[in-house]
Each structure stands twice: as structure tokens, then as C-alpha cells.
């Protein structure tokens, strides 16, 4: 028998309340999964909590590495085959600085992207819905797994959730939703 409970919340406030009550009831934060079609964050943070993002730090590190890569490219290649510069230095600070500025930006962008993909676990399995589903705005799905299902169901229902896997085994009972085929 599955111990997975999935409920729909049509308002973020209901979702926030449900998560708060689940946490107060001692449900493990890692067992709560919130999925939505739009960001339903509480003060900019995930309602069920999440590990700290390091995208900003990686972006800064990427900028540093990018700048160093730009400088290395200019410095080593200019010295590998010195050309006549009419008295100008081989690696002038002004012009090398421009190259470093751009490579720093590329480094920051690529490192931030890499870190984002890792933290968001993308690309994930190429997900394809296995039945007729239709997504609409203003709703979120809250899924709790590995806890006492009756207790969880009670808490979520009290908070305003609607069950979408009403069967005992958690696999059936989903409300029929008309699909908008594209």
C-alpha cells in the first residue's frame, strides 16, 4: 500500500498553511514536495524550505576564472609571437582589461548556468505526462510520501487541500480533467 498523499491547493495561502502545519506536526521537510505552474514562494523562499543556493558565489567565481582566462589568452599568445606594436606594450592594461571584462562576464554567466542546472537537477529525466492532464494557473500540488497517510490527509484537508488520489493505494480516483490538446 502506497503511503503517498497528493493534494491540490488552489490558493498559495492554503499551501503555506498546509506546509506550516505539516512541519509543526513533525513531518520531515524532505518528504514534502511542492509542485506548481508558477512560483509559489513565501518571501522569496520555498515554502517547504530548501538548501541555500550557491548560484551567486559560483557566478563570482566564474567571473574571476573568466577574467583570468582572458588575461592568460592575451598574455601568453602575445608573448608567444610578439609583433611590432610601435612602442606600445605587448599586453597593455587598458586593452587587455576590455578582453578580461568580457571574458569575466562569460565566465560568470556560464558558471551561474552550470550551478543552476545542478541545483535545479536539470536536465532531469525527459518527463512526459502519462495521462491526460491539463495545467492551469493558480494551483499547486503538495505531495507527501513516507509518512502516516491518514494523518497527512487530515492536515492537508483542514488546510483546504483537495485529494487527487483518493484511492487507498494512492493510484486512482483522480478527477477527470479535460485536456487541451495542442
Amino acid at each position: 500500500m502506497s503511503d503517498r498523499v497528493r493534494m491540490i491547493f488552489s490558493q498559495p495561502e492554503q499551501l503555506h498553511r498546509a506546509v506550516r502545519e505539516l512541519l509543526e506536526a513533525g513531518i520531515d521537510r524532505n518528504r514534502i514536495d511542492v509542485v506548481s505552474n508558477e512560483p509559489i514562494l513565501l518571501n522569496g523562499e520555498p515554502v517547504a524550505g530548501s538548501s541555500r543556493s550557491r548560484i551567486g558565489i559560483f557566478s563570482l567565481a566564474g567571473a574571476g576564472i573568466g577574467a583570468l582566462a582572458g588575461w592568460s589568452l592575451v598574455y601568453f599568445t602575445s608573448h608567444a609571437y610578439p609583433i611590432a606594436t610601435g612602442g606600445m606594450p605587448l599586453v597593455p592594461a587598458f586593452t587587455t582589461g576590455i578582453i578580461m571584462y568580457e571574458t569575466a562576464a562569460v565566465g560568470a554567466i556560464l558558471f551561474a548556468l552550470g550551478r543552476f542546472l545542478r541545483e535545479a537537477r536539470l536536465p532531469g529525466r525527459f518527463y512526459v505526462p502519462d495521462d491526460e492532464t491539463d495545467s492551469m494557473g493558480g494551483a499547486a500540488l503538495l505531495c507527501v510520501e513516507g509518512e502516516d497517510p491518514d494523518r497527512v490527509r487530515e492536515i492537508l484537508s483542514d488546510a483546504g487541500g483537495r485529494l487527487i488520489n483518493g484511492g487507498e493505494n494512492g493510484e486512482s480516483g483522480r478527477e477527470d480533467v479535460p485536456a487541451t490538446a495542442l
Partner: protein, 459 residues
């Protein structure tokens, strides 16, 4: 009779997620005859331009009309113009995100797409201009056959790095906020489309961690992209300003170009929005506040552009240096005067009252007219920066009037068709208004109604 933005925007007080999905995803499934007509016209013009380019490749760069001393003419004019247009999107979108302007939501993707396509079109011109396009890789810093690396002290080399950085950033900045919408389309699509969007959406689930990280990276990208965007057009201006040619060697060229780029970029964005709004029926999303705010930004940029242009021409005239004055006179009273005065009328004299008077700027047709004129005026401005200076070098025996050729004109026309074609294809494949961002904005304003039906969600 002109219509006001307000009168054609039947936006209800509250909207449901269903309606938003239906409205914004409709263009992906429904194709009007007008769409195919526009597609066919653009494809024809592009085909002709490709023929002209093939002609140039076969017969050599001479058939484009380039002769001493005007080695840079329409191709480099177009390069500067399109790079300027690219400032419409990512830069404006990033600034609006950073300052938390809520009205930006329906506008951002429309703008970001302009950036990517304008950069793609603009960055073709150095390759077309090279003549021997198959040697394009000589532009890339790598140890070539002569074991020599490019000259990093050259602004042309800085161009390569700047455009590469901006294109990379803009592509990613366009794609990341698109992922949730791709997942939305995936969930609704069937057959091949479902597989395609499953691939493109990278397995996005919409978990709160993913949303949180998406918001985070979009914020980081917005901050990184602003200085890159500013640097791109500054560096393009230095292609000219680092020389000692008359009316090019100017310390204000950097900010002058950036202002001009943002100016033409906003005009292009408004024009695109007016067309999209009418053709795709997006009246409920692209509303008066979006047009009004962009029109006010355009007004500000119009004043700034006039200020810079005045300062540039005044200082040259006051200094009265003969070589500079020759170029100045050729523009203001000489053979290029019709273009110069057309530029002043298109960029300032006609748009200024339209944008400054509230009643006028609320008319979409007048706003579109002002935007179109600004785009024309800014193209003329780029032309007047590039060509008259080259035609009047310091040694007078080299002076020459400019004439163009059918090859150059065809390729120029082709790039406008190419840009439009790319945009048409994008609109057909992807939601041009960010669905999730609109929903999020409406929720913040308390205008998103809860759906009566059970939503998605099979994840």
C-alpha cells in the same frame, strides 16, 4: 480613425489561469493567413538577398559598390544598427527586472527575442563585409596558419569578445525563463510536439526548489547582463572613435552610441508589441500601462539622443577644424543633408510631440508611427556616422561621393526580412508572452482567480 490603447484593451478585472493559458498558447496552434502571407513575403525577400550574397561571393566584394575610400558603407551601417536594436531586449528587460517594475512581465520575452535575433543578424555583417566569407574563422582568436594570433589591441577584436558575451548571455537569459512555459506546453501537447517540448523543457517539474533557483539565476543574469550590454555598444563605437578620422575621434561616442542603441531598441520593441498585440489578439496582456511606460522611456531617450547629437555637432562646428568641418558640412548642408535632416525629423522633431503629449502617445497608431520613424532615423544616423567620414579623409585628393549597388541594398533588405522571419518562427514555436510571469504578476495584484477545476498535475 486611430484607436487608443485603452479602448482596445478589454482586460477583465480578474483572469483565470485557464484563460491565460488559452490566450497565450493560441498562437502556437492557430495560424492565420496573414501569418503565412508575412512569412512568404519575408522568405521571398530573404531568398533574393541570398541570391545577391551568392552573386557577391562569386564576383567579389567589388559588386557591392565598395570602393576607395568608402570601404565601410551599408554593411557596417547595418552592423551598428542591428547591434543597437539588440539593446531593446535583454538590457531593458534586465533593468526592469532589477528595479522590480511589475509592468514588465508581458513585455520581457518579446524584448529578449528581439535581442537574440538582432544580434544574430548584426553579427552576420562582418562576415558578409569580409567578402571571402569562408574565412570567417580568421575573426576567432586561435593560432591560425601563420601561427599569429589576432591583435588584442584592436577594437575589432573587442567586438568579437563583446558580441560573443552578449549573445551568450542573451540566449541564456531568453531560454531560462522560457523553460517553465515549455513544460506547460509539453503538458498540453500531444505526439511530436510533446516529445519536442519534453526535450526543450529539460524535464522541468516546477518544484519549489526549481522555481527558487530559477528566480535566483534570472536575478544574477540580470545584474551581469546590464554591464555587458552597455559594453557592447560602447565597443562598437570605439571601432570608430579609436581612429583619428574626422568626426569619429570623439570621447562621447561610447555613451552616444549606447543612448542611440537603447533609443532605437525601445522603438523596435514598441513596434513589435503593436504588431503582436494586433495580430495575436494580446490586448488583455499588452495594455496601456506597458505602452505608456515604454513611450515615456522612449521620450527620455529621444531627449538624451538630441542632447548628445547637439553636443557632438556643436563642438565640431565651434572648433572649426578644416578636416572635421568638411565632414560636418557634407552632413548638414552638403550631399548628405537630406539624410541628416530626415534623421533629425524622424528621431526628434516628429516623435517628440507624439511622445510628450499624453493624448497623442495613447494612440497606438501614432505611437507605432513614432517608433517606426525612430527606427528609420536611427538607421540614417548610423549611415551618416559611417559614410561621410570615410568619403572625406584628411587627404582631399581621396574625397569621393558615395554610391551603392543592388547587391548591397538587396542584402540590407534581406536582413530585415530575415529578422522578421526569425521572429515569426519564434512566435509559432514559443509563447511570446511569459505565461508564468503573467500569472505570478496577476497573483501579486490579486487578479488571478482560482480555477474551479482540478489543475494539472501529474508530476
Amino acid at each position: 480613425m486611430t484607436k487608443s490603447v485603452e479602448s482596445t484593451a478589454p482586460a477583465p478585472e480578474k483572469m483565470t489561469g485557464e484563460r491565460i493559458d488559452r490566450d497565450l498558447l493560441r498562437p502556437l496552434t492557430e495560424t492565420s493567413r496573414r501569418y503565412w502571407a508575412a512569412f512568404a513575403v519575408c522568405a521571398l525577400v530573404l531568398g533574393w538577398a541570398l541570391f545577391a550574397w551568392g552573386w557577391q561571393l562569386h564576383h567579389g566584394i567589388g559588386v557591392s559598390g565598395k570602393r576607395r575610400p568608402e570601404f565601410w558603407s551599408l554593411y557596417i551601417t547595418n552592423f551598428v544598427f542591428w547591434i543597437g536594436i539588440s539593446h531593446a531586449g535583454t538590457l531593458i528587460s534586465a533593468i526592469l527586472r532589477v528595479v522590480g517594475a511589475e509592468w514588465r512581465r508581458p513585455v520581457t520575452r518579446c524584448a529578449e527575442a528581439i535581442t537574440v535575433f538582432a544580434l544574430l543578424v548584426g553579427s552576420m555583417f562582418p562576415i558578409i563585409h569580409m567578402g571571402r566569407a569562408w574565412l570567417f574563422y580568421w575573426l576567432i582568436p586561435y593560432p591560425n596558419e601563420r601561427i599569429m594570433w589576432p591583435n588584442y589591441r584592436s577594437p575589432l577584436m573587442w567586438d568579437f569578445f563583446a558580441i560573443l558575451a552578449y549573445l551568450t548571455g542573451s540566449l541564456i537569459y531568453l531560454y531560462l525563463p522560457l523553460i517553465p512555459d515549455l513544460a506547460l506546453v509539453r503538458d498540453k501537447a500531444r505526439g511530436f510536439r510533446r516529445r519536442l517540448y519534453s526535450f526543450l523543457s529539460l524535464g522541468w517539474r516546477g518544484s519549489e526548489t526549481q522555481w527558487h533557483r530559477l528566480e535566483k539565476i534570472v536575478s544574477v543574469m540580470a545584474i551581469v547582463i546590464i554591464p555587458v550590454a552597455v559594453s557592447v555598444h560602447t565597443i562598437v563605437s570605439w571601432d570608430f572613435a579609436m581612429t583619428i578620422n574626422p568626426m569619429w575621434s570623439s570621447t562621447i561616442f561610447g555613451p552616444y552610441f549606447v543612448v542611440g542603441a537603447i533609443f532605437s531598441g525601445i522603438a523596435a520593441l514598441i513596434l513589435a508589441m503593436v504588431v503582436l498585440r494586433g495580430v495575436l489578439g494580446l490586448q488583455a496582456y499588452l495594455q496601456e500601462k506597458q505602452f505608456n511606460n515604454l513611450a515615456l522611456l522612449l521620450l527620455l531617450m529621444s531627449l538624451l539622443w538630441f542632447y548628445f547629437t547637439f553636443a557632438e555637432y556643436l563642438t565640431v562646428w565651434y572648433a572649426n577644424e578644416p578636416a572635421e568641418m568638411a565632414v560636418w558640412a557634407s552632413k548638414v548642408t552638403g550631399p548628405y543633408a537630406p539624410g541628416f535632416w530626415a534623421m533629425v525629423f524622424c528621431c526628434f522633431i516628429i516623435p517628440f510631440p507624439i511622445l510628450a503629449i499624453k493624448k497623442l502617445r495613447r494612440r497606438t497608431s501614432l505611437l507605432a508611427l513614432a517608433s517606426a520613424l525612430i527606427c528609420v532615423g536611427m538607421w540614417l544616423e548610423r549611415f551618416l556616422i559611417v559614410v561621410p567620414t570615410l568619403g572625406h579623409p584628411r587627404l582631399t585628393f581621396n574625397w569621393r561621393g558615395y554610391s551603392t549597388s543592388w547587391v548591397e541594398v538587396s542584402i540590407t533588405a534581406g536582413t530585415f526580412a530575415y529578422f522578421t522571419l526569425l521572429y515569426l518562427v519564434f512566435v509559432k514555436l514559443f509563447p511570446i508572452v511569459a505565461v508564468w510571469e503573467v500569472k505570478e504578476g496577476l497573483r501579486h495584484e490579486g487578479k488571478l482567480e482560482a480555477s474551479a477545476q482540478a489543475p494539472l498535475m501529474n508530476r
